[in-house]
Every structure is written in C-alpha cells, then in structure tokens.
C-alpha cells in the first residue's frame, strides 16, 4: 500500500465522534489531517473560554456550538471533508440512528455515565461497528501508564484507566491529546489493516 492507496482508502471512510470536547475535537482534527472522508460529529455544548486549554477551538469561537465551531476548523484543514453534525445531548435512542453509516465510532464523552451508555448501546445495537473509547486522561506525566486495551472484538479502550478528572487532576492538554491521538491512531489501524473495511 503506498501513500496514494492509503489516501484513496481513507477518503471512502466515515468515522463517528460522540462528544466534541478534549478528546473528540482533537481526534476529529487528527482524522481530518489523516484524510478521512466523512465525520459524524455529536455534541450539545457551547465553546467556553475554559475549553481553550485543551480543545480544538479558538478564542473567537467562544459562545458557538461546538459542532459548528469544529466544522469551521476542520474545513480549514480539508475543505473536501464531509461533515454531518448533531447538536444534541446523545441518548441511547439516538446512537444507532446517528452512527449506523459509520465504519468506526470514537467515544469522546467527558461523563462516565455517558461513556457507559454509549458502550452498552453500541454493543447491543451496532455490535459490528468498532468502538474506540477514551478512559482516563486526567493530570500530567506518567506517559507509560496510557495504553490501548482491546477489551473485546470491537471495543478498544485508550487511556490510563485510573485517573478521574478533579480539581487536583484537571484535564491538561498533553495527556488529553495523547489519548485523542491514540484513538485516532487506532481508527487508522483498523481501517488500513483490515481489507474487509
């Protein structure tokens, strides 16, 4: 496979991203740069000044919906990218409807309850679609505690699996972006190493 073939494969692929915060916005930017053809983005939130510490947004975008702001930024990277956005707080009944056309889904929520809901719903309703979840991104340092666990045939978990965000362990850009990059890298591994996709 050469560069041109890789480009042609990735152009035909669709990746769903559930949550456009620290993990989701950065993962979306990486996948866009890598040449993914289409992204399905879901988030209900608005860009806040505090998000600029680690999320792929800019000061001028404070107050915009994250899905709209991210669309703007991703199109700056690749004007040919196809983007479908869902500006809503995802519930179990939305998951299959929004992500059924995706080759892979990236779980990028902040809240652990939402992570559980997505993992369980995907297992029940879209079991054949690989899901790449993020779990444990807080704080700084300890590079080698961050891993990718293949929990199941179609479930991969990236993160340290331990550290919850708190006042003492805020989500800081480097660790958040390491995990986002691992998720994006796992997406590419699945898409490029498995000809059936």
């Amino acid at each position: 496979m050469d560069t041109k073939q890789i480009e042609l494969i990735l152009q035909t692929k669709t990746v769903g991203i559930a949550g456009c915060g620290g993990l989701g916005s950065n993962c979306a930017a990486l996948l866009t740069r890598a040449g993914i053809g289409k992204l399905v983005l879901a988030d209900f939130d608005i860009v806040d000044e505090s998000n600029l510490s680690r999320q792929y947004f800019f000061r001028s975008q404070v107050g915009l919906y994250k899905t709209d702001a991210l669309r703007e930024n991703l199109l700056q990277l690749n004007p040919a990218l196809i983007i479908e956005t869902h500006c809503t707080k995802l519930t179990a009944s939305d998951i299959a409807r929004f992500f059924i056309g995706c080759d892979i889904v990236v779980e990028a929520f902040d809240d652990a309850n939402a992570k559980q809901m997505l993992i369980e719903t995907m297992a029940l309703e879209l079991p054949a679609t690989p899901l790449i979840a993020g779990n444990g991104i807080a704080g700084w340092g300890n590079n080698n505690a961050i891993t990718t666990l293949r929990a199941d045939k179609n479930l991969y978990i990236c993160g340290d699996g331990t550290l919850e965000t708190s006042r003492e362990l805020p989500p800081l850009a480097p660790r958040v972006m390491v995990v986002a990059a691992m998720q994006a890298n796992q997406v590419l591994e699945i898409l490029l190493n498995n000809p059936i996709y």
């Binding site: 369980e120 991104i137 929990a151 965000t165």
Partner: protein, 67 residues
C-alpha cells in the same frame, strides 16, 4: 474454574460465580462498570443472576470521567 478476566487468565476455587460475586471477590469498587460474558453485554440488572463458568471470557471495565 479457570477463566479469562480482562484478557488475563484467572483461577477461582468456585465452580461458578455470578458477576456480582466476581466483582465483590475481586474488590472492583467502582460505581460504573461495563460487564461482558464471552463478548455479550451483561446489563447491570442481570449481574446477580448471570453465571460465569470454567473457560468463560469475562470483561469488567470501569469507566471514569474525563474527556
């Protein structure tokens, strides 16, 4: 019984354990778990009745906030 728990082999004296018993015995104290038996999701309300037996492949993931 011998099982695979989170990709690692583990042995237990019991011939079978429910998910709730396994979680207690392993001291998994986290609130939010996703449990699977041989790749099939086991919902929270079924953890007290679903039995794990010799040779099973078990996944117990605990989810933490941050993202």
């Amino acid at each position: 019984m011998n099982i695979i728990l989170n990709n690692r082999p583990e042995s237990f004296d019991e011939e079978a354990l429910t998910f709730d018993e396994l979680i207690k015995q392993k001291n998994f104290t986290f609130k939010l778990l996703v449990t699977k038996l041989n790749g099939e999701l086991v919902r929270k309300e079924h953890r007290n009745t679903t039995e794990i037996r010799d040779g099973d492949n078990v996944t117990v993931l605990h989810l933490i906030s941050g993202g």
